[in-house]
Structure formats: C-alpha cells, structure tokens
C-alpha cells in the first residue's frame, strides 16, 4: 500500500510517501498506525497522539476504524488548517 504523509507528520517521519507491504492482521486505519508505530522511533514520534491524526483513504476522509479493504493509498496527517 502507498502511504503518504503531510505537514508535521511528514517532517517527523522524514519521507513524504512510501510503499509498504502490510501484514494480513492490519485491517483498519488504526491497525496501520499501530503497526507503523512499531517500525521506528520516527513513526512513534509522528503518531504519538492518535486523536491528533486525520486520515484519507484513496483521497476520501475516513475515521481510524475504517477498513483498508484493498484501498491503494492511505494518507496520514494532522487536522487541516487551510483557508
């Protein structure tokens, strides 16, 4: 799955996107965040506050309990601040 990061999440992780083979037990957005958190200190830092994260699955805003279900791109970012 393609993972994309923005703003302070992108800066904390150190890349703006990456391809990852997610294990079968990673079924929801929250599962993915928990799994990534164990992949390195940079992820743990970026995802230290789950309530402060927002998600888009194939460019649609979703909640952390949403199933990944074959989607091709998951974006993880802080609350938006445009306008």
């Amino acid at each position: 799955m393609k993972l994309v990061y923005f703003a302070r999440v992108r800066e904390a992780i150190g890349v703006d996107s990456e391809e990852r083979d997610l294990p079968a037990e990673v079924q929801t957005v929250a599962d993915c965040v928990i799994w990534l958190t164990a992949q390195g200190a940079n992820y743990a830092t970026a995802f230290s506050e789950l309530p402060r994260l927002r998600f888009a699955l194939d460019q649609q805003m979703v909640w952390e309990e949403t199933l990944l279900e074959g989607a091709s791109e998951l974006a993880i970012f802080p609350p938006v601040t445009g306008g």
């Binding site: 923005f6 703003a7 460019q59 970012f77 609350p79 938006v80 601040t81 445009g82 306008g83």
Partner: protein, 148 residues
C-alpha cells in the same frame, strides 16, 4: 458558472468576482482570506495533498450550489509560500437573493477550513517556522452546517 482553482501564483479577487455579477442574479457575496501578520510572521507556507485537493473543493462547491440554488460560485486557494498581506483564499457566490449568497459563502469557507487538505506553516522574521494548530472553534463552525 463554477470555477474552482488551486494555484501557486497570486490571484486577484475582484477579477474572479466579476463574472458572478453577470449571471442575472440579484446577489453576489464574497470572502477573501489574507495572510496575517501574527506577531512577526513574514510569510505563510501552504502545503496540500495534490491528489485530493481539487476534488475536495469541487465537492464543497457542488454541495453549496445544490443546497442554496446558486447561479454560480468561485473558489480559489493558493498553495506554496505567501507573503503577509497577500490573499490565500477567495470564495464568491451568486444567487437570486442575498440570504442564499451570504449563507453559501459562509458555508464554503467554514467547511473548507475543516475538510480541505491544506496545512499552514508560519515563517517568522527570526528564521523560525511553526505549523499552525487547528482551532476547535473552526471545527465547531464547520460542524454547525451539518446539523442544520
């Protein structure tokens, strides 16, 4: 008449507004958001999610046009580095009557602030830079439109 644009360059609000006044309606409303000097801020950097931004703005405008029977709407948002004093966002609406134009304009900017994938970073005179925190008051305003 619908015009939605995400741009790296400067834009002129009055120029964008002009076509809305020629649609035969009795009311045109607009909102312009400007990069503000918040204690030493010299520029604001706007990051966005290119694969999603335009579609999310299109969705907002289509919702507003349908909900308030708008004759037309313009939504322009800048990305990249924006100097203090320059416009960041422009919203324009045209309708038969003022209530529709004004409400749709407020809806568009309120919902944009809480749903469109943009992130602001403030650059200060001393060389420091800081991500802008989302405001709970913006969330509250954005959510109010869903409950009406």
């Amino acid at each position: 008449m619908i015009h939605v644009e995400v741009t790296n360059g400067a834009f002129d609000g009055p120029t964008a507004l002009a076509p809305l006044s020629r649609l035969g309606g009795g009311a045109v409303a607009s909102f312009t958001g400007i990069a503000r000097d918040d204690g030493g801020v010299i520029a604001i950097e706007l990051e966005h999610y290119p694969a999603m931004t335009k579609a999310s703005l299109d969705t907002l405008v289509n919702e507003a046009v349908a909900r308030w029977s708008l004759l037309g709407s313009v939504l322009i948002h800048r990305v990249g580095v924006i100097s203090v004093g320059e416009p960041i966002v422009f919203v324009g609406t045209a309708a038969s009557h003022r209530a529709e134009a004004l409400e749709a304009c407020a809806y568009l900017i309120d919902r944009l602030k809480t749903t469109a994938p943009f992130w602001k970073k403030e650059h200060r005179l001393d060389g420091s830079a800081q991500w802008v925190e989302a405001k709970a008051s913006d969330d509250a305003r954005g959510n109010e439109w869903s409950s009406q």
